[in-house]
């Protein structure tokens, strides 16, 4: 049964939310590490309320880009499994999945959270490629923030597999952690009616006209942004969203302590 957009808007107009939370309040968050420790180099499960996402890291050796011969790279892929929601369908990645992948990727890449230089095995020849695959298990709103947290948790959990010459021995894991130097944390602010809120339920997402994802480093630098939705935002509104997101990322960061 779907709750109508008008109903969500009327609740927000009364200064409350469907589940009674404050506008700037997240649902309970849980992070669990090593959910696929036999198979993946690193893995994690993130729960935000009823939303559940798993992420895994796999490493391969590849040739570096010709303009960056001494650097490895990452690839982030979000697949919106039909297992996780009646709204997702099988087939090639939807535009929603591609946007989620790219926004998650940008936060990690542009903050230089992973030291790509330390992923170099032999300059110009062999570098580590870090694949981060993210899957919702139950999609119940706020996949943007859940995917960001899951990717970071999986990277934090990851260790290099053993290198035997130029071949990887996946059966043997080393104790060497990936060079994760910082945690770029995302907070997505959603506009419903004229109200900004965080961590929407699916019904709130569907009632929203505009959203903005903002990724913050611990020092308060912004390293990625993405505006979505059909409606425009005023620059004052963007400033307001940035303030809200920064405060919330400090709170989210505590889950990694």
């Amino acid at each position: 049964m779907m709750i109508s957009r008008e109903y969500v808007e009327s609740i927000v107009a009364k200064n409350t939310r469907l589940d009674g939370r404050k506008f700037d309040e997240y649902r309970s968050i849980e992070i669990e590490y090593g959910v696929s420790s036999k198979s993946a180099e690193g893995s994690a499960r993130v729960r935000i309320g009823d939303t559940e996402v798993v992420a895994g890291v796999k490493m391969e050796l590849g040739t570096p880009f010709s303009d960056k011969p001494g650097e490895g790279s990452i690839m982030v892929n979000v697949e919106l499994l039909p297992l996780s929601s009646p709204l997702f369908e099988s087939g090639p990645p939807s535009i929603e999945a591609i946007e989620l992948s790219r926004v998650t990727d940008r936060g990690i890449r542009e903050s230089k959270a992973l030291d790509f230089k330390k992923l170099c095995v032999r300059e110009g020849e062999k570098v580590w490629l870090v694949f981060i695959d993210i899957y919702p298990i139950n999609a119940a709103g706020n996949l943007f923030d859940a995917c960001n947290l899951a990717a970071l948790a999986a990277l934090r959990d990851a260790t290099f597999p053993k290198l035997d010459g130029d071949k990887i021995d996946y059966s043997q894991k080393t104790k060497n952690k990936l060079p994760l130097t910082k945690l770029p944390i995302a907070c997505t602010v959603w506009k419903v009616e004229n109200q900004f809120l965080v961590d929407p339920l699916l019904e709130e997402e569907q009632a929203s006209n505009a959203r903005i994802s903002i990724v913050f480093t611990e020092e308060g630098k912004i390293c990625a942004m993405q505006k979505g939705g059909d409606s425009p935002l005023m620059s004052e509104e963007i400033a307001q969203a940035v303030e809200l997101a920064e405060a919330k990322t400090h709170e989210l960061r505590r889950h990694f302590k």
Partner: protein, 236 residues
């Protein structure tokens, strides 16, 4: 080649530790998680819903569609490229066939019931774990079923008949035969059987016997998991 002792210390007819949980995907009509050793499968059921394109519809009941998928990081070697491949399509098909004899979807003509199976971590026996999870998910969804479906791999490692091979046993240098089977525990009927390797008729019969015995334990676990879910619902 002689295989005298299992690497993880199990008896030859002993399975790895198992766990099962029903109702793990809130959005789904029915769902379950099944773990055997380090192999972890989750299954979710959606439907019945209208089936398109129309020529795929069946006038006398819903079509069952199974979809088996390994998450990209769930393999033991390199990353598994996302999307369907020949292996996953075949496995999806044999899983679907393993349910045809028990599942009654005649109430829902022209509809489709989708079963999605995802592997989070693998250590052999993935299609069997997938079937055990899917069976629970279909029961959880409340479809008419004559029985649950239980599945386990049995076979030969070296010269020894075993049940529930793990990956190191499948890759045993002295040769291994992997026989995934699915059993309807009330009647003992077999709804899935595959085999690769080389085995004598006598060993095959023995392996299947051991497999059927193992399925009784899976059946008990599945029933307990379903009861637990409904006990929880009754309390709530």
């Amino acid at each position: 080649m002689k295989y005298t002792k299992r690497l993880d210390g199990r008896k030859f007819d002993e399975m790895r530790p198992m766990s099962a949980q029903v109702g793990v995907v809130k959005n789904a009509v029915g769902s379950a998680r099944f773990q055997i050793g380090k192999t972890v499968a989750i299954a979710a059921v959606y439907g019945p819903k209208d089936l398109f394109p129309k020529f795929l519809q069946k006038p006398h009941g819903a079509v069952l569609r199974c979809n088996y998928n390994m998450m990209a990081f769930s393999g033991s070697g390199e990353r598994v490229r996302p999307g369907a491949n020949r292996r996953s399509k075949e496995i999806s098909m044999v899983i679907q066939k393993s349910f045809e004899p028990v599942l009654d979807l005649s109430e829902f003509p022209k509809a489709v019931v989708d079963v999605y199976i995802e592997l989070i971590q693998t250590d052999a026996g993935t299609r069997c774990a997938g079937i055990c999870a899917a069976s629970l998910a279909l029961a959880d969804a409340g479809f008419d079923m004559k029985d649950l479906v239980c599945a386990i791999s049995c076979g030969l490692v070296g010269d020894q008949v075993v049940v529930d091979l793990d990956k190191t046993e499948e890759d045993f240098e002295g040769g291994a035969v992997d026989i995934p089977i699915a059993v309807l525990p009330r009647t003992g009927e077999i709804t899935l059987l595959q085999l690769d390797g080389e085995i004598s008729k006598a060993d095959l019969a023995k392996a299947i016997d051991h497999g059927k015995e193992a399925c009784k334990k899976i059946y008990e676990l599945q029933q307990a998991a379903l009861r637990q879910k409904y006990a929880q619902e009754a309390r709530a």
